[in-house]
Symmetry: D2
Subunit: 339 residues, 4 copies
């Protein structure tokens, strides 16, 4: 059974530890955190796990086959690099790094060592996104025209990263997974309404080489929580509402067609049935841990591998540049990986 | 009682004629349309009105004190100009014109003749927008940070104008009315997914001189109809959902505040009550006709006068330029009126 | 083309007249009302129709082939009887009468004269109920276990009839149409919270001979408007929400099964997909007028014929008896028609 | 600190144990369960707690000041009785017993020993019900006319109790707490659609001595989960929707009034604002444990004391009798406690 070392037992680390425990295919071998309180909580929940305040000790521990990193973003790079160099597999929180060059270095390091490098883009493993991905793969939506997401709520303001790196990162990962197209241009506008805090509201538009458009609306200062995504295709369209307790994914047999005949009406509409598939009940994080273990054991490439993590960091960096340019579009075709 | 001539009895003209009839403060004197079928329908509904296929005849008719124009956009300018020159008051469909220079000319013509020039931005007269306007005016929301609108549905594709001129025009008019700030920059991205038809999906971001941001998401090719606007203020925030049959406007006593103390948490949150004011039941169009007649009789300036109509045409034109530049922001400070 | 005489041009009569006009298969020949104001409104909308304050004149007019009755309930019987005796077809507002004996007399009169007697149970002709009816007919729901309806709102209090005769009548008509079972017992409780007004809140339970149960919750004094019906079947279940603007009917592939094996869990569950069929856009009243004309022309029996109208009056009368008995169940098997 | 013994560590027991741990005002002293697996899970979560398979051992343990009982209903009585006789305070799962005589005996036993006897009617301690209770207490709703609850979902079918004892028990407890009136009559109809399983659908109507009416609609075989309660008052009305993640409680300033003047309209309506109070975030179970400890320490009477538990058992028993009588109303005035 794979032995897992978890670095960081603050907000997200306990979830990773629990998922590893419940997975039945891996065990929590060691947990590292700087805070004695955090380690005390870890001891209570995972009495069999070794505990340490020294990350290096965890990385070199022989019982640790794989390292899961749930620390602040700017620390992802050195921890992941050291773990890979110690020939450990790595699952790192999203975003993979806060810098493109570091992301590239991690990808190269993993390739050199033939280790699994996976990024914890959890949404990709949710039953809802799995179902949509299968529909698109099967051609059910036809050509995908657009992905339009509203992801707003009140808080939590982050101290270090702005709303793009905190919320838009989810949609970048979902679109990267759903679309078989590459981004060519991104335009982003943002505003900060509380002095001294990072940008808390942003709109992003991404043009893809296949003609698709992604639009993201993210906001930490909205009165209500909205998690709604529209996906338009030439054959069908999807409404994915993550706030619904049931029927999160609705597929509409609706669309419009242009008439070739100049004497006809310009556009005709199709208004068919709606269908909400029953979704698997399995927790995303459990699916993700199983995927990680499967890739370690078989050498397969994870759905959210280092390369996808790098593409997303490139897009985040490009979006940040566009914000600095007050919305000026930024070309993505020159990017090493994303294009 | 004011005598009204209605030009165009297609989709919107019948609504104007009905509202005039029901207002009790004006009468339908004459109706002009090129189509005999349209005039036959007009005769049935308004047996006392004179009918004509000649717009010039309507404009010069002595019993016509005011002309309402409900024809295709590109014809607004010549009809409105001729009516003003014939010393008639004018209410023109939105957008006022499809060209800034023409809009300026109409405003000047109206000023010279001391006639009322009003634009039919109906949403400004809805009970929901009236209520929000009163709240903002009374300082209930505090400083307005943003206006974020999603206005999407399936169809109807227009042949001549794109989705910005068809749908975003509503939000431009609402924001122009609600905010006491001037736009300084606009960035717009759009896509057309049906070859041979105008752009059917667009995102627009407007920065205002007071620091506010407006964000519009408009789309003719969405599976469901959404009419949802978030308005964020420093004291309260509003959700305005026009698809609700009741409680269209919800006011949330929620917000975030930055701590000045560096040892405190960065941001603290306020999660108070929600309040949905009872809205007047009065139809917007009726309120609008009354406003038109009141301004004719008293010389007052309408809420949606020619100048506001011009500002909105300027913003639409700037948005179109930004779309041509694939999202490149367009400066609005050099605009004659809008800035 | 069938000539129609409309008796009563108050609240509902204008809708009937409009539907007849728009149907294209009948014409409004004459309109009768006691009120000169009502007749003036009728003249404006239906300039070709003859007008009268004398119902007898309408009934004997040679151009009137069929009489539609939209008057207070206690006047339905004499007007319908006289019309049938004058060999006119009759469409009468719901409920058919306020008395079982009178309802029987109308049915017998219609049979003797071989005239169409139809009751305006409009809901039966809505696209939503048509769709559900077709599903049940095709066996899609399996055995129907229950019909559970909540029909509440604020007002309008009626002066003459209580909430059962005003609101529950709709559900009685829908269930009568949907279920191929006969009612055997009814239990009803009601309360009046405003002194001097009729009962404004009631719960009704009906047991059917096939084992199904209907439950109705009707209330004129609810803060919000709810029109929600659950229909449970052995194979599928339906949620019919008439307040939704789209997806009024949702079909759930869900259910429970009892295990025969005593060592197994008692009950197992099926949690499958949800499906919302696209509904026809046709107005119910138009469908109903066409059905009325079709039955006049072909001798066919309407979906909501006099016999169904009688069954519903019998159920209303039995419910009223149960209310008087403070909820004591009333046997329906002795009823002439309903059982 | 109060030492708590928990009997039964199946579905609900772990929640009680967790709440005791988190409360900070009591500790988990001992846990009893017949199943070694359950005790193993208990050991992991509560390493400091003593474990036993012998309930008698738990009851007589000196460190156990209070016993919490989360076992099948038919075992509540002997365990609670023995605990009270051993001079322990008792918190027992709902319903208190399945038999009125046993409930009376527990109440008497607790009174004799001056021990706290409390029933775990958790809903009474939810922030939503607390807020509604405070409103009613402050007279905000005026005279309460009715309580109308829909509590339906798919499963879980219980083997031993029917849907009334499983679901309606919640509403009985809430109404018992909210209304300052006593029930005088109950009428209940039920049906079982799966052979061999208990009744899974029921409607209950309760008349109160102050004129109020309660109506409950409970169902285990509904396609969707609904937890919606309408509460009508003479001044305001409440919609309490427990499925909402925010705004569970909405207060409508709406109502109807009867006119005394016979020349006026019968009833006039008031359509005012809606208000959704911010609710405390505190978990109900935690509030309940604190209440239990407070009553033990101060001798105060809990909100959900043994007498209220007895009243609810009496109502459940009366409802069962009415079901046997196929809906025949059952008089409650002769009940020892409820009337």
């Amino acid at each position: 059974m794979i032995g897992v070392g978890i670095v960081g037992y603050g907000y997200w680390g306990p979830n990773l530890a629990r998922a590893v425990s419940e997975s039945g295919v891996a065990r929590v071998e060691m947990i590292a955190d700087m805070s004695p309180d955090a380690l005390a909580r870890a001891a209570q929940r995972h009495p069999a796990a070794k505990l340490t305040t020294d990350i290096a000790e965890l990385i070199r521990a022989p019982g640790v086959d794989a390292v899961m990193i749930a620390t602040p973003v700017h620390t992802h790079f050195p921890i992941a690099r050291d773990a890979l160099r110690a020939s450990k597999h790595v699952l790192v929180e999203k975003p993979m790094t806060d810098d493109v060059a570091q992301a590239i270095q991690l990808v190269e390091e993993a390739a050199k060592r033939r280790k699994v490098l996976m990024v914890d883009h959890t949404f990709v493993y949710t039953p809802a996104v799995r179902a949509i991905s299968e529909m698109i793969g099967a051609g059910e939506l036809g050509e995908v025209y657009y992905y339009d997401s509203t992801r707003v709520n009140l808080g939590l303001f982050q101290r270090d990263v702005n709303v793009i790196w905190d919320l838009a990162v989810h949609d970048f990962a979902i679109v990267d997974h759903l679309l078989d197209q590459r981004p060519v241009m991104i335009s982003a506008s943002a505003a900060r309404f509380l002095t001294g805090s990072p940008e808390n509201m942003a709109q992003l538009t991404v043009h893809y080489d296949g003609g698709a458009m992604a639009h993201l609306n993210v906001n930490w200062l909205a009165p209500v929580k909205i998690r709604q995504t529209l996906i338009g295709g030439s054959r069908k369209m999807v409404v994915y509402d993550d706030m619904q307790t049931s029927e999160k994914v609705k597929v509409y047999d609706r669309g419009a067609m242009c008439s070739a005949d100049p004497y006809e009406k310009l556009v005709s509409y199709r208004l068919g049935d709606m269908h909400a598939p029953a979704l698997r009940a399995k927790e995303a994080l459990l699916t993700e841990v199983e995927e990680f273990v499967r890739c370690i054991e078989t050498g397969a490439t994870p759905l959210t591998d280092g390369l996808s993590g790098l593409r997303i960091v490139e897009m985040l960096a490009a979006a940040s540049r566009s914000v600095e340019l007050r919305g000026h579009p930024v070309d993505l075709t020159s990017l090493k990986v994303a294009s």
